[in-house]
């Protein structure tokens, strides 16, 4: 290895400016080896091009996969550089979209944090000392190490994860399946509320099945912890349109998020107590008979009979697909009490007049309707109780219940963030399903429930998959990433595309200890993200704007199919994902099974398309500037998707509110539970009195865009706190503060604001650790897992917000 080269990159932890300086000093070496060390020097040769000679071309592509926006972009490339990005024209103007994250790619693609060459670690893990190596060396080293680990511990001892920008959603993932690696199984990440509402409401991974554009038909819209205006920015138009059309927007959030600020009512609920408000609303709705009895009788399971003693649903047990999609499960052909005949009859018996309430004796057993049980259950959740738990006064809760039940069609937007990240999120999800089903606010135009930051329901379309040999599949272990640090496992090597570890696990110190214990860790990333410093081998990937071929990334997004046209050549020595996967798998001889290039993959993905994709071909996609609407794409999507009639995909075609499988957990109907850590009354609050919650900022998608030098002008890691909490600790606006608990700590800037509940700290996730003065926010977060959630569709969620800390001046 060239000694000078080694020195030049010996310390990757130096500041960016230091990095550029070092690059200048060793510029000659860099040039000689064909690697460039700063975007400035790399751009220099063509700098002098006269304006008149400049050549422009227009390229079309689909932007981010991870913010769930997927905007169609029109990029202008001048003299081989990305010069301008704007929204592409669309037939339905609502899809002509871009946000600041798309625009800033003009800088971000060229950011100083770009990984430029393959690197080999020379210092300790985490120290960030690397030397430049060649692609051949790097790939061989990855293969040698992975082979050694797999020989010793078996195929499943390799963990492979694709995350964030690198590859996700690009329609392929080869390294993991060909190496029979551990792929992480279900993540549970972002599915806390979905665990609770999906079985009843048949949402899709918590997403609303109705389109967000339908919101304009709603009279009341309740955002529960959702911050559309910063997460799914482009979708906020639907919310704003709805408000303009007269909808009342109510937002639950302990802080005045930009979405809360654009709402008619901000409900600054205590962290994790959204469930108390919803249960209080449910009780109030029942008490005032604001429920829709017809709807309940005909479209829900409320008249179904339940055995008082066992908690089991009354009816014939059968085998079928249950409401969370599990095949060959036991399902019950439920019974109702027919008031006409005074007997129990199957719910679907013609002419039956089901009793909505009542206690009956059936074959000597005491049975009651679900609704009767629910009423009993909810009795204790009075407005006063809810007010006490949530910090929202009883009158306000009653008013929200009134608005939800009586104002007309109402929609609940409960997101993947906020209350989703506490231990009682599934109870909240279930409680939301209860109020929706009581009031009939589900399965009607303008009345829906779910996550809307991906636009809600949209036309689906499945691309043709690249055929894999049968043996190419993931390990059976399904070890979740967030479990690896705390549960015994057999993983000894890891390859991640992007920063999986610091994004997908709480309590980062434990995760990092685990990473350090691995025999081998390689990372493929575009930027020098936090996890890079722990890797043994680093490979530079290119962004979606870069390609060696003309097209890549076929994708279905926002009711359209897109393909990404090449804008610029891969910068520095970076390569496309497909090239990288081919290079790695070539070490095993598996590259023969992979597409030779994107062209081959694109053609495969776009062949023999069916359903909404019928008629779309590679040729006509490209002829139409890389975008085609899905079938009927000319018609408004909101007319084509979602439940507009209350007939659902459950076995009974009704909303099934009673979770028989959770009788043992006491959650057949939602039972209030505190969260794991952040609740009032937790003795730990004496030591760590503040709740630490995270959310989105417009300047990030998770950690992505930390490198943007444009965004750095507006945003740096900061924690928002109420002035009273700050004053008690002698903290002033702009001070550096240490946020700490027993798990760890970090230092960032304090921002004092009246728009946050006293006792709560808010911080936007997340930023590369090098941009913090010390540590980073996942050092303090809670990695406990809720055991009961293993029984649920998505498994336990990560308790990112279920966290107590204290803060002091750094």
């Amino acid at each position: 290895m060239n000694e000078t080269k080694r020195n030049s990159l010996a310390n990757a932890t130096m500041s960016r400016r230091g990095f550029v300086k070092a690059a200048a000093i060793t510029g000659a070496v860099g040039a000689a080896s064909g690697s460039m060390f700063s975007t400035s020097s790399w751009l220099a040769p063509t700098q002098a091009l006269a304006e008149e000679q400049s050549e422009e071309k227009t390229c079309y592509l689909c932007h981010n996969f991870h913010c769930l926006g997927g905007c169609g972009l029109k990029a202008t490339v001048r003299d081989g550089r990305l010069a301008k990005i704007e929204p592409r024209p669309m037939k339905d103007d609502r899809y002509r979209k871009i946000c600041l994250r798309g625009i800033n790619e003009v800088q971000h693609v060229y950011a100083a944090d770009r990984l430029q060459t393959p690197l080999r670690r020379v210092g300790e893990r985490g120290e960030g000392k690397f030397e430049v190596i060649s692609w051949d060396e790097a790939v061989k080293e990855i293969a040698d190490n992975v082979k050694a680990v797999q020989e010793k511990y078996g195929a499943g001892s390799l963990y492979v994860k694709k995350s964030v920008e690198a590859s996700l959603g690009q329609g392929f993932s080869f390294v993991d399946v060909f190496l029979n690696a551990e792929g992480g199984g279900l993540t549970g990440l972002d599915r806390g509320i979905a665990n609770g509402c999906e079985p009843a409401l048949q949402t899709v991974n918590g997403n609303s099945v109705n389109s967000i554009w339908e919101m304009k038909h709603a009279s009341t819209i309740i955002n529960i912890g959702d911050n559309l205006a910063e997460s799914g920015i482009i979708w906020t138009q639907a919310l704003v349109d709805a408000r303009e059309a007269g909808a009342k927007i109510i937002t639950f959030d302990p802080r005045l998020s930009p979405t809360a600020a654009k709402s008619d009512q901000w409900v600054p609920v205590k962290p994790a107590e959204d469930v108390a408000v919803i249960l209080g609303m449910a009780q109030h709705i029942i008490e005032n008979k604001w429920y829709d009895e017809d709807y309940m009788k005909n479209y829900t399971s409320y008249p179904f009979l339940v055995d008082r003693e066992t908690g089991e649903l009354v009816g014939e047990k059968m085998t079928g697909t249950n409401r969370i999609g599990k095949k060959n499960a036991t399902i019950v052909h439920s019974m109702v009490w027919d008031e006409a005949s005074g007997t129990a009859v199957p719910y679907d018996q013609e002419g039956a007049v089901p009793a909505i309430e009542g206690e009956f004796t059936l074959d000597g057993r005491s049975v009651a309707t679900e609704f009767t049980l629910l009423k009993e259950k909810l009795e204790e959740y009075t407005l006063e109780w809810a007010a006490e738990r949530s910090g929202i006064d009883a009158q306000t809760i009653a008013q929200i219940a009134d608005d939800y039940a009586n104002r007309g069609p109402a929609t609940i937007n409960c997101a993947e963030g906020g209350p989703d990240k506490y231990a009682n999120a599934d109870v909240l999800g279930h409680a939301i399903a209860i109020i929706a089903s009581l009031t009939g606010n589900y399965g009607k135009l303008g009345a829906s429930v779910g996550f809307y930051s991906a636009g809600g329901g949209s036309l689906s379309g499945t691309l043709t998959a690249w055929p894999l040999p049968e043996w190419a599949k993931l390990s059976e272990n399904k070890m979740r990433l967030y479990e690896v640090a705390s549960k015994p496992n057999d993983i000894h090597a890891a390859i991640t595309f992007g920063d999986a570890f610091t994004l997908r696990a709480a309590n980062a110190n434990a995760t990092i200890d685990w990473i350090k214990s691995l025999d081998f860790f390689a990372i493929i990333d575009i930027y020098h993200s936090s996890a890079v410093d722990y890797a043994d081998i680093v490979l530079p990937a290119c962004s979606k704007f870069e390609n060696t071929e003309e097209y890549k990334n076929v994708r279905v997004s926002q009711n359209h199919v897109y393909i990404a046209q090449k804008c610029i050549d891969p910068l520095f020595e970076s390569k496309t994902d497909l090239e990288i996967e081919r290079l790695i798998l070539a070490e095993w001889g598996y590259d023969q099974y992979l597409p030779k290039n994107y062209d081959e993959l694109n053609r495969k993905q776009l062949s023999n398309l069916k359903g909404n994709l019928e008629g779309i071909t590679y040729e006509n996609l490209i002829a139409n500037d890389c975008m085609l609407p899905l079938k009927n794409g000319d018609n408004p999507v909101e007319d084509q998707v979602g439940y507009h009639e209350p007939i659902f995909k459950t076995p009974t075609k009704r909303l099934e509110l009673y979770y028989e499988d959770l009788v043992d957990e006491g959650q057949a109907f939602p039972s209030y539970e505190t969260c794991d850590e952040a609740y009032d009354g937790n003795p730990l609050k004496e030591t760590y009195p503040l709740v630490f919650m995270q959310g989105k900022t417009r300047y990030r998608i998770h950690a992505f865009y930390s490198s943007s030098e444009w965004f750095q002008e507006n945003y740096s890691p900061c924690v928002t706190m109420h002035p009273s909490d700050a004053e008690a600790r002698g903290i002033k606006n702009g001070d550096d503060v240490l946020v700490f608990n027993d798990r760890g700590d970090f230092v960032c800037r304090a921002v004092l604001d009246e728009g946050i509940r006293p006792g709560v700290l808010f911080m936007a996730e997340t930023t590369y650790s090098k941009y913090y003065k010390k540590g980073f926010l996942q050092n303090v977060t809670n990695s406990n897992l809720v055991e009961r959630c293993y029984k649920m569709k998505f498994g336990p969620q990560i308790l990112y917000n279920d966290v107590l800390v204290d803060v002091k001046k750094a």
Partner: protein
Amino acid sequence: MQTNTFKKPVLGVFGVLAVIGVACWIYQLANGLAVTGMSNANSWGLYICMFMLFVGLSAGGLIVASSAHVFGIDKFKTVAKPAVICSTACICVAGMLVLVDLGGIAKVWRILTGPNFMSPLLWDMCIITIYLVINILDLVWMQKGDEDKVRKLSYVALPVAILVHSVTAWIFGLQIARAWYTAIMAPIFVASALDSGLALLLLGLILLDKVNIAKFDNSLMASLGKLLATFIAVDAYFVACELLTMAYPGAGEAVALSEMLTGATAPFFWFEIICGLLVPFVILAITKNREKRGIIVLASVLVVLGVACKRVWLLFTSFIHPNVYGGPGIASGTFDAQQNPADMWMLLGSYAPTFVEILVVIGVVSVGVLIFMILSNKLIAGEGASSTHTTKTSE
């Protein structure tokens, strides 16, 4: 009478300072105005502040000299020449300060090829040029002993002197964007010009007397001192009018007012009120004091410093609070902002001069001092001994 001149070593010191100033200005030309402490939130700094001061300082001289003729105050005629020299030096300094403040001095000819006659800055450049010409003509004719022309010129010079300060005031006073927007701005400028200019003239006269270039008797000093006290009172009166107008509505400009009274510019404001107006007025109001040169020097220095402070609070208070306020603020556009993204925004205007700026100002002022000394050497020294203009020095 034994006369003297300013010695070469003294000239040399100011010459060196002037050269340092020029060097700093060249540095500024090479790197841009970012080497100053100015920013997008506080777009004028020490240069314009000192420009305001020196336009004012140049006034006293010409007004006293012209009054001597216009109002027939004979005893003032003896100080006419040093007064005009002082005035000339100050207006040169003021003019240079405008030029060093320009971001694109190479394009300054654009003012000639495409002047916008609506611009107070254009008016000011014109009036300053006229003013300079009058000063020079005055000197030339005085030197030639052409009393008649000097007398006639005085009738022009007096209104022009008043106008030059008014126009400078209008650069600020016509800006609707700032707290400067007030009709009293011109009278305040004239009043400040009168007291600070006269104070500077007194200091100049005493200096010339001290180094034996010319001799002035105490009664002249006393009557000038009395005049100064009157000017101070007028100045104080206008300032009081402006403060009342700012304070009374309790809205809009109240923010700027509280910044002046208790905020960032308060030290300058209170120095001016107490040390620049109150103390010198009290001192000079006592007849006995006006006989003592030491006391006149003290009062004059205080007046000049007081007016300098007034320029500071007058200029900078208006930059502190943007009319449309909110986070993240104003993009500052400075070197810091370019280099450290976290330093991009300024919520409030703030300013501190850099060394470069200070040295440029010292350099420019040194040029002014040199002009004063050299013209004094050439035009005054030896006058008392002979009527020829030969500058005799007795070592």
